[in-house]
Symmetry: C2
Subunit: 280 residues, 2 copies
């Protein structure tokens, strides 16, 4: 029995399979060894009945997690998982590596991540090329769900949202100004709070003003991440991975077109491809 895990900073998707057939799956809170200590990760694992039931029979784990880019962080996460999955051989890489495999398998290509965070890399068929991205929601993450959430709240608080969108937002969320500011500046989990507003964009995809925000965010993604990468690797195919890319394929393809870039594949949930990759 093997398990494949793909964890962004918000959610970790698990697929457990036996001889090429999925036997169980679950989603738990994100596992990020840079931000979460061993105790917290074990607590998350111990809360999930699917993982508890399969803990002993899993012989191999392929884990891809945001925040696991250094060898130290990969070892630390492997060690933590090893405490829970006592019989498993565990391999840990970062989410960019997982996204690259999911998008390119063994081929070369450029992989863009647009999920709750944002990233991009050239993949040589084995490992993603080192880059200067990955600066998080305060310094970076242009185009991601937390960027979209930040732009939505900013437009709302500056009273720029059209009346109908504003009403809908007020109906769905508690968007009282002091509460928003308290949530952002005094409470933990800011990134998850910001990226949670992705649902609002999905539910209101015909809203022209929201569409404009998305296009602006994607434009920033291209100038910050994708164009510098395609400039370095002009002949490579471009793939995208992540919930934002998956949910707004049409907008993403339009912005790409403006820059004369053709997107080959867009994978909303890389975990399926990863399981496929390791089951074969």
């Amino acid at each position: 029995m093997i398990a494949v895990v793909y964890s962004g900073s918000k959610s970790a998707f698990w697929k457990i399979s036996n001889e090429g057939k999925t036997v169980a799956e679950c989603t738990i809170a994100g596992i990020n060894p840079t931000f979460n200590d061993q105790k917290h990760i074990l607590y998350l694992l111990n809360k999930n009945i699917v993982l508890i039931n399969h803990a002993e029979s899993i012989k191999k784990i392929y884990a891809f997690a945001a925040g696991a880019s250094s060898a130290a962080m990969q070892n630390s996460l492997a060690e933590t998982l090893g405490i829970f999955f006592k019989n498993a051989k565990i391999k840990v890489k970062d989410d960019l590596y997982g996204a690259s495999l999911a998008a390119c398998y063994d081929h070369t290509g450029i992989v863009g991540i647009l999920g709750s965070g944002a990233n991009c890399a050239y993949f040589d068929g084995k490992t993603p090329e080192k880059n200067n991205f990955g600066l998080g929601y305060i310094l970076g993450d242009e185009g991601s769900a937390n960027h979209l959430g930040r732009m939505l709240l900013k437009n709302y608080l500056e009273d720029k949202l059209p009346a109908l969108s504003r009403k809908k937002l007020e109906h769905k969320y508690n968007v009282d100004r002091p509460l928003i500011l308290e949530r952002i500046y005094k409470k933990p989990g800011v990134q998850n709070y910001l990226s949670s507003f992705l649902d609002f964009y999905i539910e209101n995809r015909s809203d022209k003003y929201l569409e404009q925000i998305i296009d602006q965010a994607f434009e920033k993604y291209f100038t910050t991440y994708l164009l510098p990468t395609t400039a370095k690797h002009p002949d490579e195919e471009v793939h995208f991975v992540g919930t934002v890319a998956g949910n707004f394929q049409d907008r993403l393809r339009l912005v790409a077109q403006k820059h004369n870039i053709k997107i080959i594949t867009i994978t909303k949930e890389p975990i399926y491809n990863l399981l496929n990759y390791y089951s074969n």
Copy 2:
């Protein structure tokens, strides 16, 4: 004996005066009733020997503090100060009000704040007009010291700083990538950390790349804050207050010129004007 306090989110400046003459002054850490509880504020007051020495003889306090915009926050801060200054009558307003008084005295005008944070308001000679600004360093604060700090770190981490500026930055600060990210995403006091890099801009004011960053930040300040305010109040004089405005008057005036705006006064430290105002 009276005391005047002007507190941004980073520092609180105190001036104590008797019959029009300054008898003492000090600077302590910022006092922000939205973010700091009573215990923390009393701890800050109790650490300062100047304040301890004058606590009993001060009969009146005029305090202007970031985060004191609601009546509830003003009352809460007045109450806290009252515990320490037992014989004083205390008036609390927010920093925008203090900046307005310092810039306009009893006249009308538009007041821009460019300090560790950013804000802007029309002042009718008595109170600043309500606005939608004040969104803090994650959602707003364009043009402020923390915005400049964020842009500096982003440019550095994305390897965009020219070699000489990069070297100088590395020489002056510990700017190891994992350390910066840890400082920003795992530790408290992010805004102070970001705005602390203002010193680097001041020490390297002839650096053309840093100048470009400043101009971009000021341009954002104008489109976000100043132009919407001057559009509503086209005939009003424009004043600026704050350390960023004070230190980069030349760049600020150039960006203003581009928008056909004449800046009447720039006050780096409003505390002097405020003391002057209340001593006369």
